[in-house]
Amino acid sequence: MGSIQQRNILNKSYHLIDQSINLISITSFWSDINFPEAFSKTNTLDATFVNNYIRIMQGYPIYDQFRLIDLHGDEILRFERIARDSMAPMETQNKVDREYVNRGLALERGQVYVSPIELNKENGVIEVPHKPVLRGVTQIFDGNDVQVGLAVVNFNMDNIFSFMKTRISEDNFFLLDTDGKIITSNLDYNTLAHQNIMNGTDSMIQKRLELKNLIFKKDTFFMENGSLWTYQNVRTGYEKDVGMNRYAGMAEIVSNNDWAILQEIPPTYINSRLASIRKNLILFNLLTLFVIALIGFGYAMTQKEKQNFVARLKRKNKELTSSQEELHESNRRVERSNQQLQVRNKQLEDFNYVVAHNLKAPVSSMNIIVDLLSKSKDQKTFEELFPKLETISSNIQILTDDVQTYVSILNNRELELENVNLLLKLKDVEKDFVERLLDEKEQNFTIEYRLDEWHAIKCNRFYMRSILHNLLSNALKFRRPDVKSHVIFETAWEDGKKVLYVKDNGLGIDLERHGDNLFKLYKRFHRDVSGKGMGLFIVKSQLEAMNASIAVDSEIGVGTTFKIKFNNS
């Protein structure tokens, strides 16, 4: 029903658009005529030249008035409909305070202003009987293309409205304006009720429909107050939008009109339509009941057979469950080794990085020195270059030792794991720094333990010691001299996994700049703090070997927090 309504509304909407466009082209016609120069109230216009047009216009009842207005808002010429088929000149008025005159004077050449639909006023008073009018306004020019005034055509909307008010069923029709006010409706002979002063018995419905669903002005249909409502915007530019060329070369429209059509199918009509559907529904239900009874009978017959079948099924199911458990177990194993493989892969990548960036460097330097040596024959160059080879050699020595440490971590497959008490281990590590911690200058440094959540972890005790040593060492090294420094070791749980936080209030590091490199070999970030850039690299490798991961959060001048997550726990 909604879509039939929509089609009906579309017809009405097209009609309104067609008519409006017609009116616009009629209006714009006047801007193409050469008017005599500079006419005004005092310099009256010889109206004879318009008489031919008037003769044609008076045959069409839609033309209600035709006026020429000068640039001061004074009517120079005024024709009004006096009977069904005749128009006559009338006494002119000043219209300077009317909206349409002001809008008209602001137009540019080629534009037509279309006013909102209003009840016609004469000398400031609404005319009775009410006459809904739409005004088309355009500029008029003299032979030298100088604007001399405006042409205003009033169109009587009664005919158009009466078409739109036709019903296809018992529907109620409303034409709404921008503010949702009712321009006209087939419920009421009062057009534009909101422009009138009404007495108390006139209901609100004649002015404006208060519908919740009309907040958003979009084409839709909806149920409210038991009625089916269909809402459709009237888009004057519709044909242009879809690329139809019927109105090519049409004047540009200036207007703040937004019209919408609303149709209501009242509850009484809906109910009468639904009654027959309801009758059919009962019949259908009866039929369904009968079919269900039949199926039930058949079901009872097969039930016995089924019981046997169910017993067999249960046996099978049991077998399946046990094999499913096996499957789960092997799935878990695959997952575990998959995880290990991923870690391994990541380690391999890191190792490749070390090979590419650290190991190859001295070799390439050596290469080039050897090349230079072989090319040069003089003693001086030889004496210069030879010590460089020694430098490279000692560099390689250091590098090999470091890489050896690293590779031994990577290779240690049979890592011995045992339960390590975190507090004991930390106290043990503290001893490594006993001198630094006692040093008067560093009395300022406190170590805090918050190990309530868990205090023992299954890990390799040598690695654990090395990790804690490195982290504590970093906290000491990178403290801020101007504040009371601390490091906090705190245990926690996350997703059922043990987590260790190591938080300090030290120098902090710019992660945006260095985040990628923090755990890489030979990376250093603080110029005036000694170190060779090995600590965090080893920490990360050892943690990965124990299936743990490390993440960092840091802010310069605030501190650094390392988060270690033990995935095995």
């Binding site: 460097a361 250093r524 850039g533």
Partner: protein, 137 residues
């Protein structure tokens, strides 16, 4: 023509020494400057832009360095580009890494003119100088 000027940014002292030596052998006209990490190098570039002193025509940039690595240098350099007016700086990544990842990453920076894998012999340096200064070496 302008005199060639090269900036070496590398933490490998031996490489810096050797490259300077090769360049000195090639011509007396080449001015060479060097830094051992990206941070010092970018500070130098910043000073140049502020004081409007000439920038090096060629930068040979290592990737793996302390304090600020080659990538870090590039992203800082990118921020300076609007201040560089029309002065042209050609950055070559010079690294011992032939890791395809690094080469791919270098391509993402439009400021990078080329990618050179160490060791850098004389002919390679000559090629770079020819490309930049359009002169036979």
């Amino acid at each position: 023509m302008r005199n060639p000027s090269i900036l070496l940014v590398d933490d490998d002292e031996v490489y810096i020494y050797v490259t300077k030596k090769i360049l000195a052998n090639m011509s007396d006209d080449i001015s060479v400057k060097s830094f051992n990490d990206g941070e010092r190098a970018i500070e130098f570039i910043q000073t140049c832009t502020q004081e409007n002193t000439p920038l090096p025509g060629v930068i040979l940039l290592d990737i793996n360095m302390p304090y600020l690595d080659g990538w870090g240098f590039l992203s800082e350099f990118k921020k300076l580009v609007p201040k560089l007016s029309e002065r042209e700086v050609n950055i070559y990544m010079v690294t011992s890494s032939n890791d395809p990842h690094d080469m791919e990453r270098a391509k993402e920076f439009e400021q990078v003119t080329g990618y050179v894998v160490k060791p850098v012999f004389e002919d390679k340096l000559a090629e770079i100088l020819t490309d930049v200064y359009d002169e036979n070496w």
